[in-house]
């Protein structure tokens, strides 16, 4: 570093400086800046739990930074609609209803199933026949009730909501859920989801027992907590989250069969990060993450090889119950929901006592 006389030469100075800089920079060169993946998702406790179970392990594994954009399903899809020529999101969370709309409108990119880890282990109904991203969120819709409701006798069928012991305790989903309530009630009463006239007639009969309409999950949660109602057709995952907060809610698959509610992250048309999109979807099927998702968020594992402990499985949906569950007819729903909404607004909404 110095010459024989002990003074600093230009060469030794340059050598020392270069070595020092290279040493300091080596870790960051070896580990490049993480890539941002911008995803439109639901916020709140759902995201917090999902971050722990899925996104954080994904970030660490692939050196990615997840950038969340929060909103409900409809708001997120409206954003993708509005940005269809200049997308800012790489992925967007959809449930089957908004997924159908987005797919029809050409808002999503197809993915390569061969690049999605664990995709062969998921339930076949989660695949999309047209090559769009498979669903990676699975929950059940059925009966959610407070353990102490209905004189301690739990409802077993959707039709039990009409029993006098649940008078003034029933909550129904309002404008966010009418489109799934109608075919489900039609199915419960007639075995045919398309018999919507019967569904309207039965809901009209039920209205004197209805204490409130609930909106988004947070609204339903606060209404259960406030005691506005004690039984509702609702989601297993939401019930599990509220139960984790200490409210004695239970989910039960009705004897007609629960309805499976599927959702997933779709690649937004125009994203340049399709490879990361595929890997992130696969992360949802990772066995360890799937168990965490079930515990924290109440989602049923999409990966069939994942086994939950008996208690948790009973609180969500057992493998046998999944097999006899129903899927909503989304073609029927999406082609009729505008007319149903007008009818709901005119016939059902005014019947709620206020």
């Amino acid at each position: 570093m110095t010459n024989r006389s002990g003074t600093l030469t230009r060469r030794s100075f340059l050598t020392t400086t270069t070595t020092g800089v290279a040493t300091l920079a080596a870790p960051s060169i070896a580990r490049a800046q993480p890539t941002d993946l911008i995803i439109g998702v639901n916020g709140g406790s759902d995201y917090e739990a999902m971050y722990k179970a899925v996104y954080r392990p994904f970030e660490q594994k692939y050196n990615v930074r997840i950038v969340p954009v929060f909103g409900d399903y409809a708001t997120l899809l409206n954003r993708v609609f509005a940005e269809r020529n200049r997308p800012t999101l790489d992925m967007v969370l959809t449930f089957q209803g908004t997924w159908d709309v987005g797919k029809r409108e050409g808002l999503f990119e197809k993915v390569n199933y061969a690049n999605i880890p664990h995709v062969n282990e998921i339930y076949p109904f989660l695949h999309d026949k047209d090559g769009y991203a498979p669903f990676c969120i699975l929950t059940a819709w059925g009966l959610v009730y407070n353990e102490f409701a209905g004189k301690g006798v739990a409802p077993t069928s959707l039709k039990d909501l009409w029993l006098p012991r649940f008078a003034n305790q029933v909550m129904l989903g309002g404008i966010y859920h009418y489109s799934i309530h109608l075919p489900a009630f039609a199915y419960a009463w007639t075995g045919n989801q398309a018999d919507i006239d019967t569904a309207f007639k039965k809901i009209t009969e039920l209205m004197p027992s209805v204490s409130a309409f609930y909106g988004l999950s947070s609204d339903a949660q606060s209404k259960f907590q406030e005691g506005v109602g004690s039984v509702a057709p609702w989601f297993a995952n939401a019930a599990q989250r509220v139960r984790n907060l200490g409210v004695p809610l239970r989910f039960r698959a009705p004897e007609e069969g629960a309805f499976l509610y599927v959702g997933g992250l779709q690649a937004v048309k125009g994203t340049k990060k399709l490879d990361l999109v595929e890997k992130l979807i696969g992360q949802f099927y990772d066995p360890e993450g799937a168990v965490d998702q079930a515990k924290l968020n109440g989602y049923i594992p999409c990966n069939q090889s994942v086994k939950l402990d008996a208690d948790l499985s009973a609180q969500l949906l057992t493998e046998e119950q999944i097999k006899i569950s129903q899927l909503w007819d989304w073609d029927l729903i999406n082609s009729n929901q505008e007319a149903w909404l007008k009818r709901w607004n005119a016939e059902i909404r005014p019947l709620l006592r206020s």
């Binding site: 609609f81 404008i175 489109s179 309409f213 406030e226 505008e338 909404l341």
Partner: protein
């Protein structure tokens, strides 16, 4: 130097104009364009032209019902805000208490708190198991919890609370410029407080009251979050109806039509009100003050 001043003036004028154009005028034009689009071509893109959307909206009983509900809520919120706001404004204008600043801050507090937080606060207070019902039940005033929320009553209470500061500030603006010597003169001539109020304070505060009424009414009929949270999806207002169209069925055309319908209604009501108020103010008999 003169040229430089002119440039600065143009810049000062252009910047807010640009801001207004980008964030208000362009979206408004888009909204009008969408409301005139043909929904049979696309419900999320402005394609084709038709006036039929407005015909459909005007003939839809749900829309008409929502409009009546919206305006009814607007009227009650405005009345409540005026009834509560006027005495507060009068007190805040006249008091010399050292607590005046605190009282003013408390009155304006709703502006500084998130609308969602405020609404949930009302839910906690007014729900079946809420504070008010618990007190009423404990005092034996009622044997059953009262329905104080998830109905029009809840919306009126919540919205009036949110909009109260707008009424108070408008009325205070008028009260503060009333010459104190007018009141002193009236009192010295033997006028009782009620007479002073009726013949001096009230007529001279009318411009502020008028502005407050218009402001609160317009904000009340276009508010969305409070009716959504406190109406329990039972009460249908025009903003909620538009929201349904955007988020539930992705029909941007009908959603835009409902909003334009509301906007035009507000403009018409405002013009009628403003003319009526101007006429009223021109006929205020100030000679009685003498």
């Amino acid at each position: 130097m003169h040229r430089r001043n002119t440039s600065i003036r143009i810049l000062l004028f252009a910047l807010p104009l640009l801001y207004l154009a980008a964030l208000f005028i362009v979206p408004l034009i888009n909204l009008f364009r969408m409301s005139l689009a043909d929904p049979s071509l696309s419900k999320t893109k402005a394609q084709g032209w038709t006036l039929a959307n407005f015909g459909n909206v005007l003939l839809d009983p749900v829309v008409i019902d929502a409009m009546i509900t919206t305006f009814r809520i607007g009227v009650f919120v405005t009345l409540l805000a005026l009834l509560i706001g006027y005495p507060i404004s009068l007190f805040l204008t006249r008091t010399r208490s050292r607590w005046r600043g605190v009282l003013l801050a408390l009155t304006l507090a709703p502006i500084f708190i998130s609308i969602v937080v405020r609404s949930y606060g009302w839910i906690v207070l007014l729900s079946k198991r809420g504070v008010i019902n618990s007190i009423l039940l404990q005092l034996g005033v009622t044997s059953q919890p009262l329905h104080l929320i998830f109905n029009e009553f809840g919306i009126i209470i919540g919205t009036a609370h949110v909009l109260l500061p707008f009424m108070v500030l408008s009325v205070m603006g008028s009260l503060q410029v009333i010459e104190p010597s007018l009141e002193s003169a009236a009192v010295s001539l033997g006028a009782r407080p009620w007479r002073v109020f009726r013949d001096i304070i009230w007529p001279l505060s009318l411009p502020g009251v008028g502005a407050g009424i218009l402001l609160v009414f317009i904000l009340a009929i276009s508010t969305f979050v409070t009716p959504m949270l406190l109406g329990g999806q039972v009460v249908m207002t025009l903003p909620i109806l538009a929201f349904q169209q955007f988020t539930s069925v992705f029909n941007w055309v009908e959603g835009s039509t409902v909003i334009v319908f509301l906007l035009v209604s507000v403009v018409i009501v405002s013009i009628i009100y403003e003319r009526a108020l101007r006429r009223k103010l021109s006929t205020v008999d100030l000679s009685r003050i003498k």
